[in-house]
Symmetry: C2
Subunit: 342 residues, 2 copies
């Protein structure tokens, strides 16, 4: 059944005037006799008239819709980014089409197609952990549809990006562990293809080096952000001849999973092993012990990325400067490294 949508023609017929007058009254772009305008507006209101954006976008070649493509929805990070982004978008009259990829590259490609089909005016993208090929995003460039990457960005495409100071934050996190006297600090690293993993790893290495601690490759464990193998990794690290006394994990879920295992192995946190995570996800503050982690300004990230994106729309491509906006992430010291007085 087709739904009952009121059109300008309906209003024009009802009032016995021309469609153009109705259109003018509704848009306010031109002059209409006050009395006529009044009548039109009233009837429109009464009939819940809604301008058909589809036909409008046919004319303006704009949809006033922004696509947001995200790798996952299982932690609080991306939903919170969406909140910030959406707030900014709606402030400027844009709607938001959201797709979540379940960390699957194939889904990301499919979602890119959906965005194209929906003629979004721009896309805000964070890549899945599997993504190594960026052709599906290059199509957007070719079609002059602006992109802004955030968090998990693509270095091959020269567009604005929003990131946090991952390197510095990781560096400080590890220095924090060192300042507590830790010397055998392991890193549960993320997938190498993600620049955030790389930067956090670099921060880890450089902090160790700065403080004269040799980098032990055995203590750098590549995980894929899934939690299945963490148990094995942590067991290995704890049972080393020269066991670890600190862990810096690439994200909070990994850190928390590690903590659970450490506790089961009857080691104390932070006394035996201090643990630091990354992101300050929902739940990290009430884990036991509460997790020291790097807090990212989530909503700000979304807002900033959306601001940059909206700024690109309507500009010539030559003006798309590949700005990299770096937001401040800050270490939150909690009980997993320093016990607060009970």
């Amino acid at each position: 059944m087709k739904s009952d949508q009121i059109t300008i023609v309906d209003i024009a017929n009802e009032l016995n005037i021309s469609k153009s007058t109705v259109s003018r009254a509704l848009t306010g772009h031109a002059n209409v006799k006050a009395e006529t305008r009044q009548k039109i507006l009233e009837l429109a209101e009464k009939l819940d008239y809604q301008r058909n954006m589809q036909s409008l976008s046919l004319i303006t070649n704009k949809t006033n819709t922004i696509g947001i493509v995200l790798p996952e929805f299982s932690t609080s990070f991306f939903p919170q980014v969406v909140v910030g982004a959406q707030e900014e978008a709606s402030k400027h009259g844009y709607s938001v089409l959201i797709s979540q990829c379940n960390e699957s590259y194939a889904t990301e490609v499919a979602n890119a197609k959906v965005m194209l089909a929906n003629r979004v005016d721009g896309v805000m993208v964070s890549l899945t952990k599997e993504t190594l090929n960026y052709d599906h995003w290059k199509v957007f460039i070719r079609k002059k549809i602006p992109i802004v990457f955030f968090n998990r960005v693509c270095n091959e495409i020269m567009v604005p990006k929003v990131v946090v100071n991952d390197y510095d934050a990781a560096f400080h996190a590890v220095e924090h562990l060192i300042s507590l006297g830790r010397r055998r600090i392991a890193h549960l690293a993320g997938p190498r293809q993600l620049s955030i993993s790389q930067k956090r790893l670099n921060g880890y290495c450089d902090a160790l080096t700065k403080h004269g601690i040799p980098i032990d490759q055995d203590l750098i464990i590549d995980s894929d952000l899934s939690l299945n193998k963490i148990k094995m990794f942590v067991k290995f690290l704890v049972e080393l001849e020269n066991p670890i006394d600190g862990i810096f994990a690439v994200n909070d879920p990994t850190a928390i999973e590690a903590m659970q295992i450490i506790k089961k192995m009857n080691k104390r946190i932070p006394e035996d092993i201090a643990v630091v995570g990354f992101s300050d996800n929902y739940g990290s503050s009430f884990a036991e012990p509460s997790l020291t982690t790097v807090a990212q300004p989530v909503r700000e990230i979304g807002k900033t990325a959306m601001e940059l994106l909206l700024g690109l729309i309507g500009k010539d491509m030559e003006e798309w400067k590949p700005i990299i906006r770096t937001m401040e992430a800050k270490l939150m010291v909690r009980d997993s490294t320093v016990r607060s007085g009970a």
Copy 2:
């Protein structure tokens, strides 16, 4: 700058054939000479041609877009529902327009307008805690745009709904506390206008009554789902002359907040006070102690609501049965009520 979108005309000109032929080849609805079709398809592929859905929807009066309106994005519940819903939608060729309301009624009304303006083919809605008036949703009915409510549903509108067995789950949760010998069980209730709050409250009351425990109004605290006043409430309950030995909270964040306060007051959980939450949000399993709670099949809820909604599209309104689909929520017993062996 208008973006470079390829149209059927571009392809027709390039190949020196008529637009209608190109259209036919692209849709596959009619006969085109194999050779011509081949040429058209190849060129379309090469140019990244994407059918303009806007113009299509002008003709079909369908957008193949579903709106999802959510009260909040700050716990893991709604994002997970979205995952299930989106999976189902994309399986049927629908995109998803998502709006989150920050628990604000005004935003909900605005978001409803956005959905209308975008001519969504249907909406999946969960109400904010403030919503008492449903006129903005009744407009959809008047326009014959199908709605499915889920979780926080609206009883005034006769459309399909997806809920969990809140009453039973609450009843069992409280019986669980009673079976542990608790007799002074408090309920941190949600806003009364939400049917879920009401049902959970009823479950609480009936469980007590069944076991001959009088209902003490002092032990029923109305909260508004924000966490600000929880401290005061819990302090009150713990310092009562006849203090509590159990808490059933309307949701997990409330329960966890209560636990933090109880711990600060140097009461033991579960020995002194056992705590039960509702929803099994992300983080509840690694809180200390891990929280006994009612797990809801989140993705299933999203999937089911979307299925019902898609089933409504294209049907006459008379066929919209106000089915209420009740999903199974189940009690997850954890350390906040029964300590597992360390």
